[in-house]
């Protein structure tokens, strides 16, 4: 059992190292990294001065290990545009993104799971087909479009909700729905498949035989068993939500990490872009690991197979 954990953790570690290496060399592959960091109106002397002060004139291997050792100490470098450590900037925006991801997860879970269960239980009925249509629509809806449509309807026409910013809790409603809709579709599909699998099991038939009503079988017995794949997908979806936040935050001017990334790209603040992307990538890898471990804890068969 611990061998499985260890193996998976090692894999995740290699993945993190791989991503760091990828990002490091991506920056160098594209040409002179100093040119990505200096302001557009910099002179040749400025560029050379920057190169020396940042250590880009040193051998590549030295730079690489320097970068690695810095990351271990949470040193993501300095934003040369704002002249602030990248980590400080990230920390100041992180709470907003977490709030948004939380709200979106609530929407995705709250709508997706009941929808998926209902689709499975009412399989083949017209209402299940209608629900499937709704799920497919949610899946095909670009977040930035549903976001803009909501602004037009609820902020501009009806005036119920603030169109952008983060002044009150009501500002969180539309971004959460826009971001959550896509994951809602995923949750609904996974829940549907999981419940369909469970419906064929013997204990469900036993439940029917002893005269239990359907809602009782589902609520008391089936949901617990169907929860396994849903929990796993939840961990993976959080990573997608964080990535999706880039667009949703831009539309709603929500002051989180996504907005920070886009501002950083426009300001050519490469260190900052690199820091946020790295953080997002590492979070995604860790969540992947958590999903795998959760899965193996809930369902011991997985880790037994992994050991074999």
């Amino acid at each position: 059992m611990s061998a499985f954990f260890l193996k998976r953790a090692l894999q995740a570690f290699v993945a993190v190292l791989g991503v760091i290496t990828l990002i490091f060399f991506l920056q160098r592959l594209a040409g002179d990294p100093v040119l990505l960091l200096v302001p557009q109106n910099a002179t040749q002397a400025d560029i050379e001065a920057m190169r020396t002060s940042l250590g880009f004139d040193r051998p590549l291997a030295v730079q690489y290990f320097d970068y690695l050792s810095g990351l271990i100490m949470f040193d993501f470098g300095r934003s040369y545009v704002q002249n602030v450590p990248v980590w400080t900037l990230i920390l100041s925006r992180l709470p907003y993104t977490l709030m948004l991801a939380g709200g979106a997860l609530l929407v995705a879970f709250g709508i997706g799971i009941p929808l998926g269960v209902a689709m499975a239980v009412r399989r083949g009925k017209p209402e299940a087909k209608a629900m499937m249509g709704f799920v497919l629509a949610g899946q095909s809806m670009p977040t930035f479009w549903s976001a803009i449509l909501m602004i037009i309807v609820f902020a501009v026409w009806l005036g119920w909700l603030p169109p952008s910013g983060a002044r009150s809790w009501s500002s969180l409603i539309m971004p959460s729905i826009a971001l959550g809709l896509l994951s809602m579709a995923t949750f609904a599909r996974v829940a549907r498949t999981a419940v369909l699998d469970e419906l064929e099991k013997d204990y469900v038939r036993t439940g029917h035989a002893k005269g239990l009503p359907m809602h009782r079988i589902v609520a008391r017995h089936l949901l617990r068993n169907a929860a396994i794949p849903v929990v796993t997908v939840a961990a993976l979806e959080i990573a997608n939500l964080l990535a999706g936040a880039v667009i949703v935050e831009t539309v709603f001017a929500w002051p989180g990490l996504g907005q920070l990334t886009v501002q950083a790209i426009n300001a050519r603040d490469f260190m900052l872009v690199q820091g946020v992307v790295l953080l997002g990538a590492v979070t995604a890898i860790v969540l992947n690991l958590v999903a795998d471990l959760l899965y193996s804890i809930i369902d011991p068969r997985i880790r037994l197979e992994g050991n074999a």
């Binding site: 894999q11 290699v14 993945a15 791989g18 991503v19 990828l22 990002i23 991506l26 920056q27 592959l29 594209a30 990505l36 497919l136 629509a137 899946q139 095909s140 809806m141 670009p142 930035f144 479009w145 803009i148 449509l149 602004i151 037009i152 902020a155 501009v156 169109p163 990573a239 997608n240 964080l242 990535a243 999706g244 880039v246 667009i247 831009t250 539309v251 990334t261 886009v262 790209i265 426009n266 490469f270 872009v273 690199q274 992307v277 997002g280 990538a281 995604a284 890898i285 992947n288």
Partner: protein
Amino acid sequence: MVSSSAAVARPAKTRRLPWTVVPFLAILAGLVLMAIFAPLVSPVDPNAQNLLARLKAPGFSSRGIVYYLGTDELGRDVLSRIIYGARVSLLVAFASVALSGIFGSTLGMVAAFYRGWVETVLMRLVDIVLSVPAILLAIITVAVLGPSLTNVVIVLALTRWPRYARVAYGQTLSVANMPYVRLSRFMGAGWFRLLSRHILPNIAGGLIVVATLEFGLMVLFEAGLSFLGLGVQPPTSSWGAMLSTGRNYVGTAWWIATFPGVALFLLVLAINLIGDHMRDRLDPRSR
């Protein structure tokens, strides 16, 4: 003889498309035709500005031109820009799916065929790239390379190939030990012949399903990148960029963002439905 009589015996069992898929096939075909024949279909030049007709509502007409879906902030015809935008969406999606599909499938097949360290290295790489949200990889790559149509295709191909590699790998593993493959190898067929003539045709179904579903995702990614200003650059019209402009005029000109969004939504919905249908048909497990 046997096969022909069997075919005659059940003519009614020809596979018919379900009624839910047909309208979406029509939508997809319509959008593709619209993109191909854009110069013939679009009412005006998509980049022609008419500063006297800025931000006019749908149905507005000026100098004998009717702006059916209104005009944008520079007085350009929204309908014409949507029609030309379909070219960008479909071209980027098609090119990136083709590139990443060929690249990923080849690597996946090679990994499963050669096993050993080739397999270990390639499949670990697949795990790494897959564990990072593609949009993040895309953002940092475009930030380095600079935004352009070609770079968007390159970025999408670079970030999406592992999806095909994983499917090709799994399916090749199950096919590679089949008697006919072993026999062909025994009779002296080289690796290229084995992979292209014997393995690829047998794993193509799964790959085509992945490619279809990826196509919809690529359309969304291109629009997302253009929305963030990292995709196609102005004045070339892209649905994502139109939505981005429209976002600034939600209070005064709702049509700028609404209609490109409808086009985008319909295209992705159609592709997803067709992809779902193909998966149900080709994947025996989901039947």
